[in-house]
Amino acid sequence: MSEILLQIDGREVKAKEGKTILEAAQSVGILIPTLCHHEKLEPYGACRICTVEAETRGRTNLVAACCYPIEENLVVRTRSEKVDKIRKMLLELMLAHAPEAGALQDLAQEYGASKAHFEKEPSFCILCGLCVRYCTEVKKKNAIGFVDRGARREVIFIPEIALKECPSCRECFPLCPTCVLQAKFVLTQALVPTLATKEKGKAESVTISDNGEDSSS
């Protein structure tokens, strides 16, 4: 693999061909915010919070740094008026769903995003898909998935698999940027009593963390 030379925020950066802008930036300590990215998972490009300006062959495009493969002479700007404006609004859109989520609040402060800009619609989930993809790609269990599409899209545990696999795994819980996942799982257990009883022998009790989000309905 050959080395590629590019420029990020005015700095010359060398990185291996096939790397993304995000990886190249991280390699020299330039921070680009992410919410749906995880190094163990395939690039996904859903939260768009890593949007940056990428200039190539005289044209500037707004691209997702987590997915865009680097190329020779690429000029990247990780902060600009445009980029900040996009990030601010994306955060406000997500805050309508998870107003108290720590990961969002930290970024909201940085970009001046208000959680009151849009009417609250607390689903507590920003659909980053970290849980779904971790379960599919790393654990290969498919115990959690997306249902429906568009504005009705949501994440659900598939009870038949989840109640068998999740009690002994729970590796996705800490990945959740809004800490809603554990609650969802408890709810799944509660809503499927017959399955829960069947698996009770193996299941450890799961307690809800006290971050205030105890319901997903």
Binding site: R48, I86, M89, L93, H97, L127, G129, G150
Partner: protein, 642 residues
């Protein structure tokens, strides 16, 4: 069916088919596209067959069920050849007369002919009807002449000769050059030059490459791809096979939505027939070139028409778009080079090969060559499929071909390009329609939907309708599209309910900008178009909704009231009796009054009030006058002598 092993054998086969056909033998063709089928084409076909037999004409008259003729407003359509007599809105009861009078006695039945609304003249021939006269039908032209289930019909018109020419006389590079020189641009939406896409796919590394037909048409009101695929499937197959040869692909897919059962059926039959003749499969026409086509049925998701989502769906997963920073021409289905084009793009290829680049580039505008099929629907007299050269004005399409707006109403706007397109106002009616002009006007070509709107259409509601569609049809993967559309839809719904606030327009513009700039795929990137184009051209209408709580088109229910003018009410009891809610008070000789509290604003009273009274009014943005006191409601009629 014999297997055809060379271009010479194909020519023999064609001559054989033609020698069995007498061009002068009377032939009844009946439109059997989906629209005409829905209005009874099946029954008519049965009765034509029965009558031909009953009246002893089996030997003298041919009968053929064809694809969509395009004039769907007036279907089912019959065209009788060789005279080309065109009968419209046929019913089964008309059939015996058609057989006995027109077929036996060669007499034209006046009442089934097209009547020119301006001159009241009857028009006998299909090609002289204004709807057809002003069109140039390169893609749709054969639809009315062939039975899509018969490959022999296609062969009789010279079908597969372009494929034979390509395989026997041209190298794959030459084919690619022809298509590049023709400047054929993709008919599915973006208008990307097909030749350049082919070239990128051809040059991409990898042994296995795919070519795909995008027939996942999903825009509300658009159905040209359906008519093309179900009406002339072999033309698409031939184009795809030529493309595969140029690109170096041996496997093709047709991605067609399962809601198009007739298209699925006809293309399935066509593939089988082409395989039997050897136009598909191994060693096509003895050239050594192998190519197979599979049909993949889509499950009805609008977003699956997006190239990367479509390819993900073909792989057997949920049709969600993925980043395309590496083009699908390089990494498509299963990460292999894949060339996707719309049905109509592929359909042009055989004609470009047969008639040449000069012919093709002589049609259209500088940047957009050839013709384009539009699905002309909405508030227009002649709804149907219209094919015109690029550069034809909107006015010609809507007024000359479409026959203008029904019921004497005024034209307000035309929405082009489906949910991702925009609304174009009257001031732009003389715009020459092509890819670039539409984009300049804030809309897009899309796949060619054209929804005409009259003065009764509320533009805020139009934007709300399309955003509602998109919020359902977005895959929901990325935040700007899913959440941006959700919030825009909320704001638009509020505005149309009279709950709009100052700053809403600016917020819509801000959301539009982020949704356009940050979304993952073209669905999100173009989703703000209906909002932005209506704000651009109809801003005062938004402001009236927000500031005055007034709907200038008198459409938004929450902002209008129905009111009976006491000075005009003749107490005729018509509205009172017809009101479904029973909320109109009054009686004989008693002025009628609507109970505003209980009125559901269905508009029945407004529609039934006799025009000579015109007592029921729609009001918006002003308070409803208080009702006349009960004691003053008696009408004292003046003597009749006066």
């Amino acid at each position: 069916m014999p297997r055809i092993n060379s271009p010479a054998e194909l020519e023999e086969l064609r001559k054989g088919i033609l020698s069995k056909r007498d061009q002068n033998k009377p032939c009844i063709t009946l439109c059997s596209g989906t629209a005409c089928n829905a209005s009874g084409s099946g029954e008519i076909a049965a009765s034509i067959q029965e009558e031909i037999k009953k009246q002893g004409l089996s030997a003298e008259v041919d009968f053929r069920r064809t694809g969509c003729h395009g004039f769907c407003e007036r279907g089912p359509i019959i065209v009788i050849h060789p005279e080309e007599i065109c009968y419209l809105q046929i019913q089964p009861k008309d059939v015996p007369e058609i057989i006995s009078l027109t077929m036996k006695e060669k007499k034209v039945i006046e009442r089934l002919l097209y009547t020119d609304p301006n001159t009241n003249a009857k028009i006998i021939h299909e090609s002289e009807i204004p709807f057809y006269k002003n069109q140039e039908r390169l893609v749709l032209g054969s639809n009315g002449r062939i039975d899509p289930k018969s490959i022999d019909d296609y062969l009789a018109l010279g079908g597969y000769s372009a494929l034979a020419k390509v395989l026997s006389q041209m190298t794959s590079e030459q084919v690619l050059e022809e298509v590049k020189k023709s400047n054929l641009r993709g008919r599915g939406g973006g208008g990307f030059p097909a030749g350049r896409k082919w070239e990128e796919c051809r040059n991409a590394p990898g042994e296995i490459k795919y070519v795909v037909v995008n027939a996942d048409e999903g825009d509300p009101g658009a159905y040209m791809n359906r008519a093309e695929l179900e009406g002339n499937p072999h033309m698409v197959l031939e184009g795809l096979t030529i493309g595969a040869y140029a690109i170096g692909s041996h496997e093709g897919y047709i991605y067609v939505r399962q809601e198009y059962p007739l298209a699925v059926e006809n293309v399935g039959i066509a593939i089988k027939q082409a395989e039997e003749y050897g136009f598909l499969g191994e060693n096509i026409l003895g050239s050594g070139f192998d190519f197979t086509i599979k049909v993949h049925q889509g499950a009805g998701a609008f977003v699956s028409g997006e190239s990367s989502a479509l390819m993900t769906a073909i792989e057997g997963r949920v049709g969600e778009p993925r980043p395309k920073y590496i083009h699908t021409a390089i990494k498509g289905i299963w990460d292999r080079p894949t060339n996707l084009n719309n049905v109509e793009t592929w359909a042009f290829v055989p004609q470009i090969i047969n008639k040449g680049v000069d012919w093709f580039t002589s049609i259209g505008t500088a940047g957009s060559k050839g013709t384009k099929v539009f699905s002309l629907v909405g508030k227009v007299n002649n709804t149907g499929l219209v094919e015109v050269p690029m550069g034809t004005t909107l006015r010609k399409i809507i007024f000359d071909i479409g026959g203008g707006i029904p019921a004497g109403k005024k034209f307000k706007a035309v929405q082009t390009g489906g949910p991702s397109g925009g609304c174009i106002p009257e001031a732009h009616l003389d715009m020459k329609v092509d890819f670039d002009e539409l984009t300049k006007a804030g809309s897009m070509m899309g796949s060619g939907g054209m929804i005409v709107m009259d003065e009764d259409t509320c533009m805020v509601d139009v934007a709300r309708y399309f955003l509602d569609f998109l919020s359902d049809e977005s895959c929901g993967k990325c935040v700007p599209c899913r959440e941006g559309i959700r919030q825009m839809l909320k704001i638009l719904s509020n505005i149309s309910k009279g709950k709009g606030r100052d700053g809403d327009i600016e917020l819509l513009e801000g959301l539009s900008e982020v949704t356009r700039d940050a979304s993952l795929c073209a669905l999100g990137k173009s989703a703000p178009n209906p909002v932005l184009s209506t704000i651009r051209y109809f801003r005062p209408e938004y402001e009236a909704h927000i500031r005055e709580k007034r709907c200038p088109a008198y459409f938004c229910k929450e902002l209008i009231s129905y009111y009976i003018d006491p000075k005009k009410c003749q107490a005729c009891m018509i509205c009172l009796r017809q009101c479904p809610g029973g909320v109109i008070a009054g009686g004989k000789n008693q002025i009628h009054v609507i109970d505003q509290e209980k009125c559901t604003k269905c508009g029945t009273c407004f529609e039934v009030c006799p025009p000579r009274f015109g007592a029921v009014k729609k009001i918006s943005g002003e308070p409803v006058p208080s009702p006349v006191p009960e004691e003053a409601r008696i009408i004292v009629r003046e003597s009749k002598e006066k």
